[in-house]
């Protein structure tokens, strides 16, 4: 796929933060390189605090890299933009708005709805509520919904805005294990994995759940922490559409096992364990 221009390119991206009461800034992300091709679903996994969310925030334009470049379709990313839709772990739904109003928020107030008539907006909201199966909850407020339903509202809002790239920051992280498994399959259906890759939307998905990353991704980027770097970039050549049965596939287990072996030492260290290992770039393609 190297002949295709990448949809999204991160080149030598670094970011430091000055923690409260700290004297020197901490390097959160260092020399981060990643190319994502059109229609690809890329998952980033890594131990807690490895800077995965920082990477996503920089792509979203919510943070600015100290060094390096982030390009979308070859153009430098500057600040947030609706062509890069973001789905946050805490859903970020407006509590004073109904489900339908939340889904239509970007269409009404943001750039995605420019030039749309109210009827067109309404139709688009209805279509996306239908897509996530929340038509019946259109007039409810977020606090009246379960976590899984709120997550689907956020997904409907994300897609209604019609972004070019989907940026998802642990969107299933706050859900219970069963709901997660169900919504992983849902997410792939809504993303459109039955369509040919050219018609799929490019997705960058952050998670700390290795099996989730393997189940969802075309590629899994493993990050090491302090500072956050690409430790490995693993192509998950499991067939799509992916079904529940895939979780029992031995190859699925091998991928998960391999990724865990890359993260394990650092994860142990992070909880106060032993054996530091030297970070080492590793690529399995």
């Amino acid at each position: 796929m190297d002949h295709v221009t990448p949809k999204l390119r991160l080149q030598g991206v670094s970011k430091s933060f000055l923690a409260p009461r700290a004297k020197a800034p901490t390097l959160a992300v260092a020399d981060f390189n990643l190319d994502i091709h059109p229609g690809e679903f890329v998952c980033i996994v890594g131990p807690s605090g490895c800077g995965k969310s920082t990477v996503l925030n920089m792509v979203a334009g919510l943070d600015t890299p100290d060094a390096g470049a982030i390009e979308l379709d070859g153009r430098q990313v500057q600040g947030p933009g609706a062509e890069r839709g973001v789905m946050f772990q805490d859903y970020a739904l407006m509590p004073w708005q109904t489900v339908a109003q939340n889904v239509g928020f970007g269409l009404l107030h943001g750039t995605p709805g420019q030039g749309m008539s109210p009827a067109q907006r309404q139709a688009r909201v209805a279509e996306h509520l239908e897509l996530v199966g929340l038509t019946a909850a259109a007039n409810k407020y977020p606090h009246q919904l379960s976590g899984g339903m709120r997550q689907r509202v956020a997904l409907a809002r994300l897609l209604a805005n019609g972004p070019d790239v989907l940026l998802m920051d642990e969107p299933l992280g706050a859900l219970d294990a069963q709901t997660r498994l169900i919504l992983q399959v849902e997410l792939l259906r809504i993303w459109g994995e039955t369509r040919p890759q050219a018609e799929r939307r490019t997705a960058l998905f952050i998670t700390h759940d290795i099996e989730e990353a393997v189940f969802l991704g075309d590629r899994v980027v493993v990050m090491s922490s302090h500072p956050g770097r690409v430790r490995a970039d693993i192509a998950i050549d499991l067939p799509r559409p992916r079904r529940e049965a895939l979780r029992a596939d031995p190859r699925f287990g091998e991928f998960a096992e391999h990724i865990w072996s890359l993260i394990r030492d650092e994860a142990r260290q992070a909880i106060g364990g032993l054996t530091p290992t030297t970070p080492q770039e590793e690529t399995t393609a």
Binding site: A60, G79, M94, F105, H109
Partner: protein, 280 residues
């Protein structure tokens, strides 16, 4: 209570259901709040029966007849309307200034650093303490009273507005940014609605302060002007205290002030529920 007797006589307890049955609504609950005040009124009236006939001491039946007389003559309703008008005017001033100052202060730490010390050092100065200045600036009439009311209502409003804007979840602002929402629209459609609960709380507390302050302001303003022109319920009280000593009428005024405060509070709570249906 004997468990054995209850068990045999009450089928619900016998069936293993413990505690109050949720389906049976407590019909007496609304009346319970009135029980103690009613009892105290009865005791007060009984105590007054032993007083000489020409006593100046107030007691319930006399207070009630005074209330009727003051209402029928139109004096009390007129005074109330005058006072409420001043409260509305002062509150409106405080609301406008509080929002115009509070929203930018909540959004900007620099502005906060500059203005917060000034506001916090005026806040402990009671509305009554600025009365001399108010009278010097505005004279003894309505403008001085309105100024006192605005001063009193301003602090709860600004403190809660700043707090509300400061505590708007950053995530909601970020989410709006990622949807390409321009800044002015983020202010109107994210920042303001997200801080509305705090602003409305500030408004309710500010209104309470305003109503408390108007009585004090009118008492003092009325005293200075000799009682004739400025009107209002506070001044009415002052007249009944200083000119024709009538303790029953003063009690009427006190009661009305309390009831109006309660009504205003309930009105604001109802407005809060209406303006924030998502909080229900």
């Amino acid at each position: 209570m004997s468990a054995a007797v209850t068990r045999s006589s009450n089928p619900e307890v016998a069936a293993g259901r413990v505690g109050p049955v949720p389906a049976a609504r407590d019909r007496l609950a609304p009346w319970r709040a009135l029980a103690l005040p009613a009892l105290l009124l009865v005791l007060w009236q009984l105590w007054a029966l032993g007083l000489p006939a020409d006593t100046r001491a107030p007691y319930p039946s006399k207070v009630a007849s005074t209330l009727w007389a003051l209402t029928a003559s139109g004096d009390l309703p007129l005074a109330l309307v005058q006072s409420l008008g001043r409260v509305m005017a002062g509150f409106a001033c405080a609301l406008v200034i509080g929002l115009l100052l509070g929203v930018p202060m909540g959004a900007s730490a620099k502005l906060r650093d500059n203005l917060d010390p000034i506001i916090e050092s005026f806040r402990p100065i009671a509305p009554m303490a600025v009365l001399p200045i108010a009278i010097l600036w505005f004279g003894t009439g309505t403008p001085a009273a309105v100024f006192i009311v605005a001063y009193a209502a301003f602090f709860p409003l600004i403190v809660n507005t700043v707090h509300g804007v400061m505590n708007v979840p950053r995530r909601l602002l970020q989410a709006a940014h990622t949807m390409g929402v321009p800044r002015t629209r983020i202010l109107l459609h994210v920042l303001l609605p997200a801080s509305l609960p705090s602003v409305l709380l500030g408004a309710r507390l500010g209104m309470g302060m305003a109503w408390t302050a108007i009585i004090a302001a009118e008492l003092a303003v009325g005293a200075k002007s000799g009682g004739g022109t400025s009107g209002g319920i506070g001044q009415m009280m002052f007249v009944f205290y200083a000119y024709n000593v009538d303790l029953n009428a003063i009690v009427v005024c006190m009661g009305v002030v309390g009831l109006v405060a309660l009504a205003i509070d309930r009105l604001f709570r109802a407005a809060e529920r209406r303006l924030m249906p998502w909080k229900a």
